[in-house]
C-alpha cells in the first residue's frame, strides 16, 4: 500500500518536472521571438532542451502505449476505458493545439515579413546608388588625372620609376604608387605614409585583367570606416617583345565621405542580410514552434495516459475487487489512493467487504449450529421407536424417520416430496390409514390422537397416531408432524396378561370344588350302587360315571388354563431347528394312516437358541392343529419347510407349515392366536395361544394365513443363533434419502 502511494507521488513529481520544463521551453520560445539576436543567444539552449524533452516524452509515450497494448491483449480490467479516455484527452488536446499551430504559422509568416518594408529597402538601395554615384564621380576625376601618368613609366627602370613615383606622390595626392612586373613583383613603389614599406599587392583577378590590357579602378573598403581607391593601369612595354607592367595608384577617401558611405553600407548590408535570412529565419521559427507544440502535444498525450490511469485505477481495482468478492474472497481490501468521489467509492467497497465478511462468518457459524441441531434432532428421530412424519401445508411428505418405514412396513423414502395420500394409493393396505389421517388433518388444526388398525402383509397392527401443527412464520416451514406408534404388541401383552389372570383365577376357583364333586360322586356310586335295583342301579351308574367323567374333563381343562397362566422358567440352549423338526415329525410317522407329513429342510443347519421341550410343544400343537382341522375321511397332507431368511437387517430361521384343510375362517383369522378362540367342538381355544406365547418367549414371531389354493399356512420365525442383530447406523437426513 505504501509502495503504491510512493509510486503515485513519484509519477506526479515527474509530471510536474516535465510540465515545468515544457513551460520553460515555451517561455524561451516566446522570448526568442522578440529579436533575432536574442533568439541567437537562446538558440543554443532551445534545441537541446527541446530535443531532450522530445526524447523523454516519446520514450514515456512509447512505454505507456506498449503497456496499454499488453493490457488490451490480456483484456485487463479498465484497459478499454483507459484507451477511450486517452483517445478522448488526445483529441481534446490536439484540436486547439492544431488551431493554435495553424494560426501561429500564419502569424509568424506575417510577423517576420512585417519587419521588412519595400520603401525602406528602396530607400536603402537609393542611398547606396547615391553614394556610389558620388564616389564614382570622385573616382572618375582621379582616374582622368592618373591615367596620363602611365606614360611616364613606359620603359622606366626601377630607379627612374622610383624617382617618378616620389614626384607623383607629392603632385597627385595618391597615398601609394607602385609598379609591378607581370608576375606581381614590385619594381618600384612609394607611399605617402613613411611607415608603409610594402605596397598592397593587387589581387589575382586584377592581374589577369591588366594582362589583358584593361585598367582596374575600384573603391575598396579599408579597415572599418575608411575607403581607398585602387587604380591599376597596364604600362605598355617600350619594346614589342617587352612585358606589360602594372602601375597601381591608391588614393585615400576623406574620412567624412568614408564615414558617411560606411553608414550607408552598414545599414544596407544589415538590411540585405536580414532580407536574405528572412526565409531561413521563418523556417527556424516554424521549426522551433513545431518542436514546442509537438512537445505540448506529446506532454498532453503523456498526461492523458497518466490521468487516464489515475482515473481508471480505482475503477480497475473495484472491478478486481468485485470479481474477488464474486469468487467468495470477502477479505479483499482496496487501496484508497484518492480523497475524491472515487476514493469514497473505494472506501465504501471496503466497508461493504468488511460487513460481508462478518455476515459470512456469522452465517457459517449459524449454519454449523443449525447443522449440529439438525444432526442432533435427526439422530434422536432415527433412534426413536415411534414413527415420525412431517408434512407441509399441501400435505406433501417432507421428512421421515426409519421407524416410520418399519412400523408401516413400506419404504417411506420413496414418498418424500409426494402427497401423503400417495402412500395409500401405492400400498393398498395403508389406504384406510392415510384416509383417516388426512380426514383428521382436514377436520382440525388442533392437536389430535387416534388409534387405527392396519392390516399389513405381516399381520394386523394397532397404531396410535398423534398430530400437531408446526407453527412457523414462514409458509415453507409450517405444516404438520405425525407421530405414530405400533401398540400391537402392547395391546397383545395387555390382553395376554388379562387372559392369564382369568385363567389363573378360573383354575383356582374351579379346580378346588372339582375334587369334592368327584369324590362325592364316587362315594354315591360306591354306597348306593350295591343297594339299588338293577334299573336304578344302572341310572346311578350312568349318572355318577358322567359326573366323574365331566369332572375329569373339567380338570383337564383347568390344567390347560393353569398351564397357560403359569410362566415356567425357560431353559434356552443352542439347537438345530432342522433336528428339532425331524425329531418331532418322527413321532407322527406310522401312527396315523391318513396323515402324510412332508419335510423340506434347509441343507444348512439352522441354529437357534431356545428351550427344546417347549419348542417341541409348539411343533406338536401346530401339527396336531393341522391334523385335527382336516375333516374326517380325508387324508391330511402336511408340509413342513425350514429356511433361513433376512428381514430388517437380521437373519432368521423360518418354519412354514401348510396343510390341505379348509383353512381359517376369515372372521377368525385376525383372532386366531387369542385364548379361547377355537372352531373345534372339543377344543379349549388355548393351543395356538400357547404356541404364540412360546414363540414370542423365544423372540420369534408367528403368522397365520390362508393359502390361495386352500389350506392354512403358519409361518414361524426365530432369530438365528450366532448372528448378532445388525441394525443400520442412525440415518441422517431421511428426507434426502
Amino acid at each position: 500500500m505504501a509502495d503504491v502511494k510512493k509510486s503515485a507521488i513519484r509519477e506526479r513529481w515527474w509530471l510536474a518536472v516535465l510540465f515545468a520544463a515544457l513551460i520553460a521551453a515555451i517561455l524561451l520560445m516566446a522570448d526568442a521571438t522578440q529579436s533575432v539576436a536574442y533568439f541567437g543567444r537562446l538558440h543554443n539552449w532551445l534545441l537541446p532542451i527541446n530535443t531532450v524533452l522530445l526524447a523523454i516524452f516519446l520514450g514515456l509515450i512509447a512505454y505507456n502505449v506498449g503497456q496499454l497494448l499488453r493490457q488490451l491483449r490480456r483484456s485487463a480490467p479498465g484497459s478499454r476505458l483507459t484507451l477511450r479516455l486517452v483517445l478522448l484527452f488526445v483529441v481534446i488536446a490536439a484540436m486547439p493545439v492544431f488551431i493554435v499551430y495553424t494560426f501561429s504559422i500564419w502569424l509568424l509568416q506575417k510577423g517576420v515579413d512585417s519587419w521588412f518594408d519595400v520603401q525602406v529597402e528602396q530607400a536603402l538601395q537609393d542611398a547606396v546608388d547615391l553614394s556610389r554615384s558620388s564616389l564614382d564621380l570622385h573616382i572618375r576625376t582621379l582616374s582622368q588625372q592618373a591615367a596620363p601618368l602611365v606614360k611616364q613609366f613606359v620603359g622606366a627602370d626601377s630607379f627612374n620609376a622610383t624617382l617618378t613615383i616620389n614626384d607623383l606622390l607629392g603632385s597627385t595626392g595618391a597615398a601609394e604608387i607602385a609598379l609591378f612586373d607581370p608576375n606581381n613583383r614590385i619594381i618600384a613603389s612609394g607611399s605617402a605614409e613613411p611607415t608603409t614599406v610594402v605596397p598592397q599587392i593587387p589581387a589575382e583577378s586584377v592581374l589577369q585583367l591588366a594582362s589583358q590590357g584593361e585598367s582596374y579602378i575600384a573603391l575598396e573598403p579599408v579597415q572599418e570606416t575608411s575607403f581607398q581607391i585602387r587604380m591599376v593601369f597596364p604600362v605598355p612595354a617600350d619594346l614589342p617583345a617587352g612585358e606589360t607592367r602594372l602601375l597601381q595608384f591608391i588614393y585615400p577617401v576623406s574620412d567624412r565621405i568614408g564615414s558617411l558611405a560606411e553608414n550607408v553600407q552598414n545599414a544596407f548590408g544589415q538590411y540585405n542580410e536580414l532580407i536574405y535570412l528572412r526565409t531561413p529565419l521563418k523556417q527556424n521559427f516554424i521549426l522551433i514552434l513545431t518542436l514546442v507544440l509537438s512537445l505540448g502535444v506529446l506532454f498532453a498525450v503523456f498526461a492523458a495516459f497518466y490521468w487516464s490511469r489515475v482515473l481508471v485505477e480505482p475503477i480497475r481495482e473495484l472491478v478486481e475487487g468485485t470479481k474477488a468478492v464474486a469468487a467468495g474472497q470477502y477479505h479483499k481490501k482496496l487501496v484508497v489512493q484518492q480523497k475524491d468521489d472515487l476514493g469514497l467509492l473505494v472506501a465504501s467497497f471496503n466497508r461493504m467487504t468488511e460487513r460481508l465478511t462478518v455476515a459470512r462468518d456469522t452465517t457459517i457459524i449459524n449454519q454449523r449450529i443449525i447443522e449440529n441441531q439438525r444432526t442432533y434432532l435427526q439422530t434422536i428421530l432415527e433412534h426413536l421407536s415411534s414413527g415420525v412424519l412431517s408434512l407441509d401445508n399441501s400435505l406433501a411428505l417432507k421428512t421421515i424417520n426409519a421407524s416410520a418405514s418399519e412400523i408401516l412396513q413400506v419404504n417411506m423414502n420413496q414418498f418424500v416430496g409426494k402427497q401423503f395420500m400417495q402412500i395409500g394409493v401405492t400400498h393398498d393396505f395403508l389406504k384406510e390409514f392415510c384416509l383417516s389421517v388426512l380426514n383428521k388433518l382436514k377436520q382440525t388444526s388442533e392437536e389430535w390422537q387416534i388409534e387405527l388398525e392396519v392390516f399389513t402383509p405381516q399381520g394386523r397392527k394397532n397404531i396410535v397416531c398423534k398430530s400437531v401443527r408446526l407453527p412457523s412464520e414462514e409458509e415453507s416451514q409450517s405444516g404438520y408432524v405425525l407421530v405414530f406408534d405400533d401398540v400391537t404388541t402392547l395391546l397383545q401383552a395387555q390382553r395376554d396378561s388379562a387372559w392369564g389372570e382369568v385363567a389363573r383365577r378360573l383354575a383356582h376357583e374351579i379346580k378346588n370344588p372339582l375334587t369334592p364333586i368327584q369324590l362325592s360322586a364316587e362315594r354315591l356310586r360306591r354306597k348306593l350302587l350295591p343297594n339299588l335295583a338293577a334299573e336304578q342301579s344302572d341310572l346311578v351308574d350312568r349318572a355318577t360315571h358322567t359326573i366323574v367323567q365331566q369332572v375329569e374333563s373339567m380338570k383337564l381343562m383347568v390344567n390347560d388354563f393353569s398351564d397357560y397362566a403359569r410362566m415356567p422358567v425357560m431353559e434356552p440352549e443352542p439347537l438345530n431347528l432342522n433336528d428339532l423338526v425331524s425329531d418331532t415329525v418322527e413321532l407322527y410317522k406310522g401312527d396315523q394312516q391318513n396323515v402324510n407329513i412332508t419335510l423340506e429342510l434347509d441343507s444348512h443347519a439352522l441354529h437357534i437358541r431356545g428351550d427344546s421341550v417347549r419348542l417341541r410343544q409348539v411343533l406338536h400343537n401346530l401339527i396336531k392343529n393341522a391334523i385335527e382341522a382336516m375333516p374326517k375321511g380325508q387324508k391330511c397332507e402336511v408340509g413342513i419347510t425350514t429356511f433361513p431368511f433376512d428381514y430388517s437387517n437380521s437373519k432368521y430361521a423360518g418354519i412354514q407349515i401348510i396343510d390341505n384343510g379348509p383353512g381359517f375362517p376369515e372372521d377368525v383369522l385376525p383372532h386366531v392366536f387369542d385364548p379361547y378362540m377355537t372352531t373345534k367342538q372339543k377344543g379349549n381355544g388355548l393351543g395356538l395361544a400357547i404356541v404364540k406365547k412360546i414363540v414370542e418367549e423365544h423372540n420369534g414371531a408367528i403368522r397365520a394365513e390362508n393359502q390361495h389354493g386352500g389350506g392354512a399356512m403358519i409361518n414361524v420365525r426365530f432369530p438365528l443363533y450366532g448372528y448378532a442383530v445388525q441394525r443400520d447406523k442412525p440415518r441422517l437426513g431421511a428426507k434426502a434419502k
Partner: protein, 186 residues
C-alpha cells in the same frame, strides 16, 4: 530486440556521418599541397587549398552574410600502441563578407585584423588558398627517434554562421564544407 535497435541506430549514425564527410571532401574544399620547410630552426608550412563552394554559400556571401573559414594545421607524433598526439597546432581564420557599396569582397585575417578587398570571390579564395610561411613550431620540440607528420584541415565555420543558417547547417552538409584531415609525412 533492444540490442538490435541500438545496432541499427549506430549503423544509421555512421552512414549519415561518413556520407556527409565524403560529400564535403569530394566537392567543396580540398587541400592540394602541404609543404613543410625548416627555416632558421622553425618549422614553416606552405599550404595550397582549393575552395569549391556550393552556390548557396556564394549567394549568402553575396547577400552580405559574413562567412568564416579556418585552416587547422597540426604537427603530430606517431605513437605505437596508442593514439597519435599533437605536439604543435596552428589555426588561421579568415572572414569574408561582401561590401555592397564598393562591390568588393572583404577578407579579414582574424590573426592580425588585416583586411583585404577583392573584386570577386575567386581572388579572395585564391588568396586564402595560398598561405605561405605559416610558422608551426620550433624544431626544438622534435625528438630524433620519433616519427612526425603534418596534417591540415580547412573548413567553413558553421558555428559562426548567423543563427538561421547555423540551424540549416545542422541538417545540410552543404552548409558545413570541410576538406577533412589531410596528412603529409615529414
Amino acid at each position: 530486440m533492444r540490442l538490435l535497435a541500438a545496432c541499427s541506430a549506430c549503423v544509421i549514425y555512421l552512414l549519415i556521418h561518413y556520407s556527409s564527410v565524403a560529400h564535403a571532401s569530394a566537392d567543396n574544399i580540398s587541400i592540394k599541397e602541404l609543404l613543410v620547410e625548416i627555416i632558421d630552426s622553425n618549422i614553416n608550412v606552405d599550404c595550397r587549398i582549393k575552395y569549391v563552394l556550393d552556390d548557396k554559400i556564394k549567394a549568402a556571401i553575396s547577400n552580405g552574410i559574413e562567412v568564416s573559414f579556418i585552416l587547422d594545421i597540426e604537427l603530430r607524433m606517431e605513437r605505437e600502441f596508442w593514439l597519435d598526439t599533437s605536439v604543435a597546432e596552428l589555426s588561421r581564420e579568415f572572414r569574408i563578407k561582401y561590401h555592397a557599396l564598393s562591390k568588393q569582397y572583404v577578407m579579414i585575417d582574424t590573426e592580425n585584423g588585416h583586411e583585404r578587398s577583392f573584386p570577386d570571390l575567386f581572388s579572395a579564395f585564391f588568396f586564402i588558398g595560398h598561405l605561405r610561411n605559416n610558422h608551426l613550431a620550433s624544431i626544438d620540440i622534435l625528438e630524433l627517434d620519433k616519427q612526425y607528420y603534418v596534417r591540415a584541415r580547412a573548413r567553413l565555420q558553421a558555428e559562426k554562421l548567423p543563427l538561421p543558417l547555423r540551424i540549416k547547417s545542422y541538417f545540410s552538409p552543404d552548409w558545413r564544407p570541410s576538406s577533412g584531415w589531410t596528412s603529409w609525412p615529414m
